[in-house]
């Protein structure tokens, strides 16, 4: 998604600014854009959110149905995360089945949620081996200006936290809130000209050599990571990205309680 063409003049401009320790929109290297989070935006979903990071915007919905568990986890609910890069969001997105970019995006978001054990999936078991709750987390990108990983992570986590298990409509007693144990937050950094920049805009993503997404939990422990793009990172840069993710994660986590 980020690999579209950039004009040389724009590339030079970004590089020159970085050499002076500056960014196109005037932010510090470790400053995220303004974030807004709205929840319960779609009544037909069990939980939903609309998240903006700068000019990037996503909408996320959680739908729950009763279904069969996987045979290796008979007493656990099922989580399925899907991301759609719809053509509404960017002149470079095309309709059709999910491509590699949207599959990577969905899987990184899924890992943060799954590996942090954010959802207590055992509490989503109805009848071991037979009936469990199936959670579909569907992410739609509405407006694309870089850093989809963090926007989608935040959207998915906020939507899950707002979700109510529709037990009553399924004849399974009273509705209850989604069993949540923690709040995994991802922070993505890119490397341009040997500098690390957090929360890249689309233009920054286009000229970046490498990308690292780091998802931390409430204790600041690491829960998921993904290095992307064809450049290389030094170990120092990796550690800077991790430290930054942990530090900024605390502030971002406060936005969704």
């Amino acid at each position: 998604m980020a690999r579209s063409i950039v004009s040389e003049i724009k590339r030079d401009h970004i590089h020159k600014l970085i050499a002076d320790g500056k960014r196109v929109d005037g932010r510090a290297w470790d400053q995220v854009r303004e974030i807004s989070v709205q929840t319960n935006v779609v009544e037909t979903a069990e939980g939903s959110s609309r998240v903006r990071i700068g000019n990037t915007e996503v909408i996320v919905g959680v739908k729950m149905t009763v279904g069969e568990p996987f045979s290796d986890t008979p007493n656990k609910g099922v989580l399925s995360t899907n991301a759609e890069l719809i053509p509404m969001a960017s002149p470079n997105f095309e309709s059709g089945p999910p491509d590699a970019d949207s599959i990577e995006l969905a899987r990184v978001v899924d890992r943060g949620i799954r590996e942090s054990q954010m959802i207590d999936l055992e509490k989503l078991c109805i009848e071991p081996g037979k009936k469990v709750w199936i959670n579909f987390v569907d992410i739609y990108v509405l407006d694309f200006d870089g850093n989809l990983f963090d926007a989608c992570n935040l959207g998915a986590v906020a939507a899950l936290k707002s979700a109510v298990v529709p037990a009553k409509a399924n004849g399974l007693g009273d509705d209850y809130p989604m069993p949540i144990t923690c709040t995994p937050i991802s922070v993505t950094s890119v490397q341009i000209e040997n500098s690390i920049l957090v929360d890249p805009t689309l233009d920054e993503e286009k000229v970046a050599a490498a990308r690292l997404t780091v998802t931390t939990d409430d204790n600041g422990d690491l829960r998921a990571m993904q290095k992307g793009l064809s450049g290389a990172l030094t170990l120092d840069q990796v550690n800077t990205a991790i430290e930054t993710s942990r530090r900024l994660g605390i502030e971002i986590r406060k936005l969704i309680g």
Partner: protein
């Protein structure tokens, strides 16, 4: 259409389950210019429907064999997001959305001055965020505001609304229950200035008299929606004017002080 259902959807006083009269629209909100990446965009809420539309173009036409050397083509994609309905819809197009996309593309192609942009495509994306009957009309209503927001020369903006029959009465703008258990559904789009019909579908059962009555209601409602569409565009561009006014006022004050 549920056919002849016993379900009582209109009471003795002619009031519907959501409190409306038979010829009353659901509360409607239109906003223009809501997305940054798109060339034009609009958001429409009507009752519990929430619909977003975005326009890109005129731009290079893909696939190329679709290019028309004499004019632009309008390619609309109508889509319902997976959690917009009560049972999760699998992402991707189905037969219903392909048909709706085709009808909306055709309606919009009529109002756009396509001959100005040979070989190009004007791409219109409609995403239904929350559905409650009448999404194709809300989609077309939003899409034509988005086209205007994109600055594409058009003959007119298109308002659309559905009329139908519920408990043997003709009613305007069906909600989900009325759509599910009603006797007829007639979505229409009519240009207020000329009376030209750009969208018309029907299913169910209507007599000629019921059709005439429904059409009359629909035309009236299209006029109302048309005003809301124009108002949304005025608000979108009035903000810019407002700022300019403020700035010029401040500039005037500065001059006065200096004098």
């Amino acid at each position: 259409m549920g056919g002849n259902s016993d379900m009582k959807l209109i009471d003795e006083n002619g009031i519907r389950i959501d409190g409306r009269k038979v010829d009353e629209l659901r509360p409607m909100k239109i906003e223009a210019g809501v997305l940054k990446s798109a060339d034009g965009s609009a958001y429409v809420e009507i009752g519990k429907n929430k619909v977003l539309a975005a326009v890109y173009g005129p731009r290079e036409c893909h696939p190329r064999h679709m290019q028309n050397p004499a004019k632009a083509i309008v390619q609309c994609k109508y889509n319902m997001i997976s959690f917009s309905v009560s049972d999760r819809k699998r992402p991707g197009p189905d037969r219903r959305s392909v048909e709706i996309s085709k009808l909306i593309s055709e309606a919009m192609e009529y109002v756009v001055f396509t001959e100005n942009y040979p070989r190009t495509s004007i791409d219109v994306y409609i995403e239904v965020l929350q559905a409650n009957a009448g999404t194709r009309c809300a989609g077309l209503t939003a899409a034509s505001v988005a086209l205007a927001d994109a600055g594409i020369p058009m003959k007119d903006i298109i308002p659309a609304v559905a009329v139908g029959k519920v408990n043997d009465q003709v009613v305007l703008d069906l909600n989900k229950e009325e759509d599910n258990y009603g006797q007829a559904d007639l979505p229409i789009a009519i240009l207020p200035r000329t009376g030209e019909v750009l969208l018309m579908q029907m299913d169910g059962h209507l007599t000629q008299e019921e059709f005439d009555k429904g059409l009359e209601m629909g035309v009236k409602a299209c006029n109302e929606i048309y005003e809301l569409q124009k108002d949304a565009l005025r608000r979108r561009y009035a903000v810019v004017n407002g700022e300019t006014d403020e700035e010029s006022k401040e500039a005037d004050e500065d001059v006065t002080e200096e004098a």
